[in-house]
Symmetry: C2
Subunit: 385 residues, 2 copies
């Protein structure tokens, strides 16, 4: 196991009816900005539950956070925080709303000239407006971590930042609010969760048994519960297990003390920035390519994944175990309704070229060995046409 320093202070309120306990978690004298996305929380009753729980408190709404939240929109919220003396934020939504809230909370206290530096230059964050979340879409784990991804619409830049100052003070996870989610969002969420685990697990062995077993625990939960969630949308236990799995996939505890990859996300973000694909879709495309192109570097962990999660091991060669494991992942993504090739989304070699040029200009070297250059990313994408 590698050395690490880590803590995760987020308080979780889990279960049916927990939104009613919101007021206990927010200081009485708060001036609250309520941040959400489109209209879904009004359609499914979550908005009303939240407003009822906040009765008597000062609350201003800020709606319209986009999927892959825009920097430009976040700046509007920062202006409201300043003009209305907001001192607490409540994010109600999925990863996009929570990520936007993290950036807004940091940008509102940012003393530099341009808050885009938080994303581009990773300038350090000294302070942030405290916030809590009500999660409506299990996928990104943002409800229990300190990272966020923001897109500048003007030049299609999608960048990440992280800071201990932007951990939510609390997150409310009520699985029953996910009953009304469209199948597409459940599928994307399961794929996102799956890939979060793989980014922290399918690298090279580090003799970290707890982290490996925990990673496999989350993956096995997804395999069991993901398909059921599509077939029986109102099964509370299934939604509870999926919601809790997605939080654990990226709350930090399975990724500390072990090497991390994150190349699939790095490449996938560009696909979203350029072509507007859903985040989960980009991951379903890129991951099998990363695993095939880097199969020898990742061989031991791919084989372990195949054996522990998919039961792939009897009477098979080294190469078969690797290939069958990757095929099993692709089949699972397809079973969850998420297509795994560029052509499924109307993209071809032109798109690969555009991503290649962008990655070349960034000069990043991705992956647990920092060996995925723009050239290798191109090779990866060309396996996914």
């Amino acid at each position: 196991m590698e050395n690490f320093e880590f803590s995760n202070p987020v308080k979780i309120l889990f279960g049916k009816g927990q939104i009613a306990n919101l007021k206990n978690e927010i200081p009485d004298e708060s001036r609250i900005l309520l941040i959400y996305g489109g209209g879904s929380i009004k359609a499914n009753g979550v908005y009303d539950q939240v407003k009822e729980a906040l009765a008597g408190l000062f609350v201003i709404d800020f709606s319209g956070i986009e999927p892959n939240p825009h920097y430009e929109t976040c700046l509007q919220a920062v202006n409201i925080i300043h003009s209305q003396n907001i001192n607490f934020i409540l994010a109600v939504g999925g990863g996009s709303v929570i990520d936007a809230t993290k950036f807004i909370s940091a940008a509102a206290c940012y003393k530099g000239a341009d808050s885009w530096d938080i994303l581009e230059k990773h300038t350090s964050i000294a302070e942030a407006v405290p916030f809590g979340t009500v999660l409506t879409l299990p996928a990104t784990g943002s409800e229990m971590n300190s990272g966020a991804v923001i897109t500048r619409a003007s030049d299609k830049n999608k960048l990440a930042f992280a800071s201990e100052k932007v951990y939510p003070k609390f997150s409310i996870l009520d699985p029953s609010v996910t009953f009304s989610l469209p199948a597409k969002q459940i599928g994307n969420g399961v794929v996102d969760t799956f890939v979060h685990v793989v980014e922290q697990y399918v690298t090279y062995p580090a003799n970290a048994l707890i982290q490996d077993y925990f990673a496999e625990s989350v993956l096995k939960t997804l395999l069991l519960e993901g398909p059921k969630a599509l077939q029986a949308p109102h099964d509370y236990d299934v939604r509870a297990n999926l919601m809790w799995a997605s939080t654990w996939a990226l709350n930090g505890w399975i990724g500390i003390g072990v090497p991390n990859d994150w190349a699939t996300h790095g490449i996938g973000h560009e696909l979203t920035a350029f072509y507007g694909l859903d985040h989960g879709q980009t991951l379903a495309i890129v991951l099998p390519g990363v695993l095939r192109v880097l199969k020898e570097q990742k061989a031991e962990k791919i084989i372990r994944l195949g054996e522990q999660v998919f039961g792939i091991y009897n009477n098979l060669s080294h190469d078969e175990r690797i290939e069958y494991t990757i095929q099993a992942i692709e089949s699972f993504f397809e079973e969850m309704g998420v297509k795994t090739h560029l052509s499924d989304y109307g993209l071809g070699a032109d798109a690969v070229e555009a991503i290649y040029e962008r990655l070349k200009s960034r000069g990043w070297k991705l992956g647990e060995k920092r060996n995925i250059t723009a050239d290798l990313a191109k090779e990866i994408l060309l396996t996914r046409l």
Copy 2:
């Protein structure tokens, strides 16, 4: 899954050499009470490492915390905190030292007439002296939870308390400091860790897949690494996995959202209070009895444990799967050098009677169904003669 509210803010510094980073975690102007047990930290170099890391800070030593720490000893430390204006405590040791420190930190700020009320009446704790820990013995999980068990020597009362105010601010886990531990302490620690998991896992099914898989992850780690730790005391990776497993067995995350038992601990504490057995020894005696006497109530989870952790399932009846699983647990404890019957420690029916009388006077009803009365505890112990 059951509803829950939970957070665990403890910062973990894990790995070789982390003691050198102590000073970064303690405020500069601190007046520190350094609490430890017997002389082992002086013999193995940990004391010197700690003192070097604290160079230049105000530090007073307080040694002599017993295994199963005494209330009477804790009160002496409280006096020093008051007389020396101590504002930070550093606990260096295993569960006993850390548990004592939790009680001392709470008792030093206690406004009531008698701090024993914290244990006996569970009076609420408004404040506690902040503290960190340097863990030297993986076993109790105290380094990352908010509970403690204290014994009043005068009347052999061993009682527990818990409070969010007594989470360590940080805990340093350097696996290499465990190389010098005697085999007996490793064995006891593995048994203690194993039973912590079972108390939170072998109850009745609650459809909580993450918690179940995580519980099994810790148990599988113990089965793989426990025997290796006895055979190769200087294997860093083995010690790292064991240390991290023991923390996860009782940091709260596997026990939330599911029923909890804790009867084995409740009965075991009395065996220690009356006869001075090591905590791990008492658990190794009591657990198989609890599982056998309550085998139908716990059937589904015993069978799941047998299948997922010990691989017990092919061509076996319901009763065989249960009995073989319990036997596998007993064999593992014995393999770890911890005997599993009262007679192994020179105890017999008289001891059972004494425990029975004590439990009857307490009036407790233990276990996940609150159905383990003094009578049932007697029945359990009589299976362990």
